[in-house]
Symmetry: C2
Subunit: 212 residues, 2 copies
């Protein structure tokens, strides 16, 4: 199909598609003349993925490019790439004191060791967790008990996530499901969590939003 | 303290503090002369909160202003405000087909009814969940089983979150903990989830990141 048809099928404007092509978020079409390229269903699928990662995952363009490169590689380090997509692992945050982050990192490493999680020493998620722990401390909230409870919950979630990935048809599909499930799953979980928080509040304090 | 001292204590540059004051993220100091104001420890604390919500929570300025107004009000609708802080509830997303979102919304409402969650009919989290479900569908991933598993997990998380809030000293502190815990908690959970995903992958497929 021509670029106009790709635009029609996906609802993405032609100039935006051209921008994604330039940014390497979308592989080039097959050239049929010096000025024209042909696109196929894989472009449609890839374009939809880019849009939801931008819109729902709120990922920066550079992070999406990383993820897509990983999807296309024969032997990708998916965990490392997905870790880099975490909100915090995008460079030093000056909102938290580096010394506080360092102490939090020690705490995270201890948690991983105690739970015997097989997680790379340099996994971005370790640093991301340390930064958010430091942020809790910075605003004066004691997160000790919560950390352990969340770690329990995370173990359950990951088991579900692996089942989800296992429902893909083939190896390529599994990688695709891993990316989609990780990024969109964060948001799904956050939305469900808001609802259950409201429910728990209503039970405990009788605080309610609008009419249930 | 003067604005220079506020800057020193928090590490936030003076021009940035002035910007936050103009944007209503920080309450005005007490005027000591036409050109000078005095700030106190509440400004220090508020400034730290703004920074972590921006940096770690990655919230837009307008959302943070909403949250802070809620924190300052005598009888705030916290759930509604926290729901609006969800990644998706920031206006219609053109990456997902409105009809698909509508169908997903029906599914979310059914889930809430079946689980007898006390959640406002117009809670932003309902729509947020519907949009992310629609996004899963849009990229061809079947999320049916996962949704139910995540709903179970969310119930556990919310119970922990309420315990966390209950550890605050007073009513004002509880509200503060609710905001901090909700926003930073999403990121903490995401980071822990990446680690447990890596661990589960390593167990199941022998896939590992760098040396454990």
């Amino acid at each position: 199909m021509r670029i106009a048809e790709l635009s029609r099928q996906t609802g993405v404007p032609v100039p935006t598609i051209k921008y994604y092509l330039r940014e390497g978020l979308l592989p080039a079409g097959e050239l049929t003349s010096p000025n024209q390229a042909r696109y196929d269903d894989r472009h449609v699928q890839r374009l939809r993925l880019v849009r939801v990662l931008l819109d729902i995952g709120r990922l920066p363009i550079a992070t999406i490019r990383h993820l897509l490169v990983a999807l296309d590689e024969p032997d990708p380090d998916v965990h490392n790439v997905l870790g880099q997509a975490l909100p915090m692992a995008v460079g030093g945050k000056d909102s938290v004191d580096p010394e506080v982050v360092q102490a939090a990192r020690t705490r995270v490493d201890k948690l991983v060791d105690e739970r015997m999680w097989m997680v790379g020493r340099n996994a971005p998620a370790r640093q991301a967790a340390a930064e958010v722990l430091a942020a809790f401390e910075q605003v004066g909230a004691d997160v000790g008990v919560l950390l352990d409870q969340y770690a329990d919950v995370a173990e359950t979630i990951a088991a579900h996530d692996l089942d989800f990935v296992g429902r893909a048809r083939d190896a390529e599909g599994m990688l695709y499901y891993a990316v989609v499930g990780s990024i969109l799953g964060d948001t799904l979980l956050a939305a469900l969590r808001r609802m259950t928080q409201e429910h728990e509040s209503a039970k405990k304090f009788g605080i309610r939003g609008d009419d249930c």
